[in-house]
């Protein structure tokens, strides 16, 4: 069978001593840098990119992929222990992972997230190997109208899943879209919302926004005069590292569901791990028997998105390698790396460079296994980070964030932007406005505008194009259903609340 032949080719490539070494180095260095608070996968990969330039293309790609999921695990660690997401997708992990740490269940959260990553990633690799050609073909049918509708759905989901009111969530998405406008307009070259500053010509990097509204404003919230510092030390024994049967049962379904969500959204060009983990979180919240546990340390709120995140990260290589369309900023970096090595991404990569595609797939599985083997013993070290007094930790976090932001562009102006977003994030959180929808708006903003303009250009200015294309219409209907479901459940809750109030009055 084809798959067996391809698999053996892949493992032959991936199991060569030098490629295993690159994989080990990538995973270890990626985790190490990724665990440094405020240095996410984006910053980690861009910093370590030059190291790979001396290698052959396959070795470089294998090492970069190792850095990628190592850094991703690292940012899950900081999300759970410090409430600092290194990148957008990890923001979801904070929602329940950090409350778990506060309850002294950090070890369960960390082990759960490592196992969920491993299972989600492994399943996705099998899926990618099996279905790469047909999935790529389906994604090929997507036009700009479909991309637009898909992103509208993702933004709506982000607004709904955020805590707080829908209006505030939507408002934050829109503010994010406005921030996404900043910079040079690709089509006309006009400088928009940059107020004459060349520092803003390239736009506002979502890394800065994320570090500002999540990390800096979290430090700020901890400094409030009457708030106890959120850093909670937790003693744990090796026994606690083993998830209980109840934990396992709780998490297993979410890992499988997360894999489904991740595989689907990762394979679609233009979406990726971020959307997948956001949607997985809302799925988990919807199917849970007690949705009110979410945001207060529900294990499924960590394992589901983590599995989706990793499955999407793996599946994200499909559009990147087969269509040349990166799913997110990290995949864009991978794409740039490929082109540096003279490989033109597109439908011909699988046929022209089978050893690259299948070797990468096999090495991902090895890398995910290494991640699990390396990190479960090291979890004790990550948890010990919590015992450092906050007065020592927060200036250190600030320093790492500042230099991390500086490192993405080597521009001190970005540190000033960070200060601005930190202040804005604090004020927004005081007003009860959630930060996650803002971040998604910033990331998807440029894509949504680009696809809207392209769709309308193709349809000769006819705005009905979004509802006459069947796939686009389907996506919009899903969005409408999600919204309707939200209002329906809210309405029922309010009625139930009223009835309760009535009975209390009567009684």
């Amino acid at each position: 069978m084809d798959l067996i032949a391809n698999l053996s080719l892949g493992f032959e490539v991936a199991l060569s001593p030098s490629n295993i070494l690159y994989c080990v180095i990538g995973v270890t260095v990626g985790t190490f840098v990724g665990v440094l608070p405020g240095i996410g996968p984006m910053a980690t990969i861009s910093m370590l990119l030059p190291i790979t330039f001396g290698l052959d293309p396959i070795g470089a790609l294998i090492m970069l992929a190792g850095i990628y999921y190592g850094a991703q695990f690292g940012s899950s660690v900081t999300s759970i222990l410090l409430n600092i997401p290194g990148h957008a997708a990890a923001a979801v992990i904070c929602l329940d992972g950090h409350p778990m740490a506060k309850q002294g269940r950090a070890a369960v959260g960390l082990v759960g997230s490592a196992i969920a990553s491993f299972i989600g990633g492994s399943l996705a690799i099998i899926l990618v190997m099996q279905f790469a050609p047909p999935l790529a073909k389906f994604a090929l049918r997507f036009g700009p109208a479909e991309y637009f509708s898909m992103m509208a759905l993702a933004l709506l989901a982000a607004a709904i899943l955020s805590e707080g009111e829908l209006l505030k969530g939507i408002g934050m998405v829109l503010v994010g879209l406005i921030i996404g406008v900043v910079g040079i307009d690709v089509n006309s070259g006009a400088q928009r919302l940059s107020f004459g500053s060349w520092n803003l010509a390239d736009g506002v990097s979502f890394v800065i926004v994320a570090m500002g509204v999540f990390a800096v404003s979290e430090v700020m919230a901890n400094l409030e005069p009457h708030s106890k510092p959120q850093m909670v030390g937790s003693d744990f024994t090796w026994r606690e590292l083993v998830p209980s049967w109840r934990d396992f049962r709780q998490a297993f379904g979410s890992i499988i569901r997360g894999f489904g969500v991740g595989a689907l959204f990762g394979a679609l060009p233009g979406s990726g791990p971020t959307i997948a983990s956001f949607i997985s979180y809302s799925v988990e919240k919807k199917v849970a028997r007690e949705p009110e546990r979410f945001g207060k340390g529900a294990l499924e709120g960590v394992t589901g998105p983590e599995s989706a995140n990793n499955a999407a990260a793996v599946a994200g290589f499909i559009p990147t390698l087969t269509l040349g369309v990166p799913g997110d900023a990290i995949m864009a970096l991978m794409l740039g790396c490929l082109m540096i090595f003279g490989i033109q991404p597109g439908p011909r990569v699988i046929t022209d460079n089978p050893e690259l595609f299948w070797g990468l797939m096999a090495s991902m599985w090895i890398g995910n296994l290494l991640l699990l083997i390396l990190n479960i013993p090291l979890i004790g070290i990550w948890v010990r980070v919590l015992k450092i007094p906050y007065a020592i930790l927060y200036p250190s976090i600030l320093l790492f964030i500042c230099i991390g932001v500086f490192a993405t562009n080597n521009n001190t102006f970005d540190i000033l932007l960070l200060a601005g977003f930190g202040a804005a994030g604090y004020i927004f959180s005081k007003l009860g406005c959630p930060a996650a929808p803002l971040l998604l708006g910033v990331i998807l903003g440029p894509l949504i505008e680009e696809n809207m303009r392209r769709a309308l250009l193709i349809s000769r200015g006819d705005p009905t194009v979004f509802v006459t294309h069947p796939i686009s219409l389907g996506l919009l209907l899903v969005a409408a259903a999600v919204l309707a479901g939200f209002f329906y459940s809210g309405f029922r809750k309010r009625r139930a609340g009223l009835r309760e109030a009535d009975t209390t009055v009567d009684g």
Binding site: M47, M220, M452, G461
Partner: protein, 148 residues
């Protein structure tokens, strides 16, 4: 009228939307067929104003939780320390930026002790220099240039 969270958040959204719409008027609008650079920001900014207005009206009429106290002193020190560090990093180098960042930001939380703070700043300067300057080779200088 009480300052509820919804009212203030709505006003903030309206303000941000207004900035986007007003700035967009400096760019060509174009048509649905060929959108100019001003079209999309006007659309998104307009939506932001609408959502903000709905939120503000709701907050003004229906009430809700009031805006809590802001920790202005801590906010100013924390944000100030980042701004100072940004300028110092370029002009005075990593070590001076680290000391300024640590001392100013640390001053935001009480109790504040000079000795432990300076010790922390020294330690972080060393760690920062090793990781960022020596290992990751970021294009930053350690000391003010005139010293060398």
């Amino acid at each position: 009228m009480t300052l509820t969270k919804d009212l203030v958040a709505g006003l903030v959204f309206i303000l941000i939307g207004l900035v986007a719409v007003v700035e967009a008027q400096g760019h060509p609008m174009g048509s649905l067929l060929r959108m100019g650079p001003g079209y999309y920001p006007t659309l998104v900014g307009g939506l932001t104003i609408l959502v903000g207005a709905a939120l503000a009206v709701k907050g003004a009429l229906a009430g809700g939780p009031r805006v809590p106290q802001f920790a202005w002193r801590e906010l100013a020190l924390l944000i100030g320390s980042i701004v100072v560090a940004a300028f110092a990093l370029e002009r005075l180098g990593l070590v001076a930026a680290t000391f300024l960042l640590v001392v100013i930001s640390r001053y935001a939380s009480r109790p504040f002790h000079w000795r432990s703070t300076l010790l922390l700043a020294a330690a972080l300067s060393l760690v920062g220099a090793v990781i960022f300057w020596w290992f990751l080779k970021l294009p930053i200088k350690l000391w003010p240039e005139s010293w060398i």
